[in-house]
């Protein structure tokens, strides 16, 4: 499918209300790997690949992660087959300008790959970049110099 075609179908994945529970379905490990592989090959500054992915599938942990995202998405995250936390790690030369670390640009680039691949695979998904950092990092033991850029629910 063309990029234009993928974008025209994106809306179904982007809005939680368009994901009634009847549309949810389990995602396989192969499907998770496929979307993360698409994210992995994204370009990054000096190829530093400042992204890391934490895949959460345990139900109780998903529920706690759900509490760190805004209400419209929290139910989707709690009921998802898998939740991917897309994180940015510090790198050598860490920023392009004072308010703009490389990870702030590079990780969203890899996110766009992830969405387009999930759309191509027909996977139900929803996401947000509005994440309560502290509780989310505490839940998963994420180091303080890492930032959770997005929470993506799959299935």
């Amino acid at each position: 499918m063309s990029i234009g075609g993928l974008i025209d179908t994106l809306v179904e994945g982007l809005t939680p209300p368009n994901q009634p529970s009847g549309r949810r379905r389990p995602v396989t490990d192969d499907q998770i790997t496929a979307v993360l592989e698409a994210a992995r090959i994204a370009p990054s500054a000096r190829n530093m690949q400042t992204w890391r992915f934490v895949v959460v599938q345990e139900a109780e942990r998903r529920t706690r992660i759900a509490g760190t995202v805004p209400t419209p998405l929290s139910e989707t995250v709690a009921g998802a087959s898998a939740v991917v936390l897309v994180c940015g790690v510090p790198a050598g030369a860490t920023r392009t300008r004072p308010s703009q670390p490389y990870a702030m640009i590079d990780v969203p680039i890899c996110l766009s790959h992830l969405f387009l691949r999930a759309t191509e695979l027909g996977l139900p998904y929803a996401w947000t970049i509005d994440v309560a950092q502290a509780p989310c990092m505490q839940e998963l033991g994420i180091p303080p110099d890492v930032r959770v850029i997005a929470v993506v629910s799959l299935g």
Binding site: S2, I3, G4, I7, D8, L10, V11, L14, T33, L36, E37, A38, R40, I41, A42, P43, A45, R46, N47, M48, Q49, W51, R52, F53, V54, V55, V56, Q57, E58, R61, T96, R97, S99, Q100, Y102, M104, I105, D106, V107, P108, I109, L111, S112, H113, L116, R117, I129, D130, L140, G141, I142, P143, V146, I149
Partner: protein
């Protein structure tokens, strides 16, 4: 996504208007679908503005990072810009949204066979002075856009010397349930 490679050498022929409309249209539709209000992806065709931006972008020590830009034959520059709020969280979101929209434009260009190259090592202040952005937008990054040079993989030896070549395998990037 698999076909995209950074390109630093271009043929001088212009990218046709219908191709530009498709590239920018993809970015704009993605932005609309995501309800992003901050990003602005701008195409600057060859001409005086193009020259001003490329020269401003590489003024100072930053010239060492992308020395090829001032002599590029690219047809356009894609500017990734965004309207930034005052608060830190809002700034982060606006940058993140703009980067996603820009990458959609990059992928659309790749789909049509054109070359691009993300550039974030720029003299931002000089560019914003030389090419004032509307609505107080801030420059986030830019990319040349054009037809890849024939008989070249589009790369540039000087720049490539700064870049790590290997991709990390997925197991090095992915964790299960908790950070390890």
């Amino acid at each position: 996504m698999q076909r995209r490679r950074s390109c630093r050498q271009f043929e001088p022929d212009p990218v046709p208007e219908d191709a530009m409309a498709y590239i920018l249209g993809c970015a704009r539709r993605f932005q609309q679908r995501c309800a992003f209000t901050a990003p602005r992806i701008i195409a600057v065709p060859r001409g005086p503005d193009f020259e001003r931006v490329t020269h401003a972008a590489t003024r100072g020590l930053v010239h060492l990072i992308n020395p090829w830009l001032t002599s590029t034959h690219a047809s356009h520059l894609l500017l990734c810009t965004t309207i930034q709020p005052k608060d830190e969280a809002g700034i982060s979101k606006s940058v993140e949204q703009a980067a996603m929209c820009m990458q959609v434009a990059v992928l659309a260009a790749t789909e049509l066979g054109y070359g691009t190259c993300w550039m974030a090592g720029l003299n931002y202040r000089r560019v914003e002075r030389a090419y004032p952005l509307q609505d107080g937008a801030r420059l986030i990054a830019m990319s040349p856009l054009g037809r890849r040079a024939a008989n070249s993989d589009g790369s540039d030896a000087v720049t490539l010397s700064f870049i790590a070549h290997d991709r990390r395998p997925l197991p090095e990037l992915q964790m299960r349930e908790v950070w390890r």
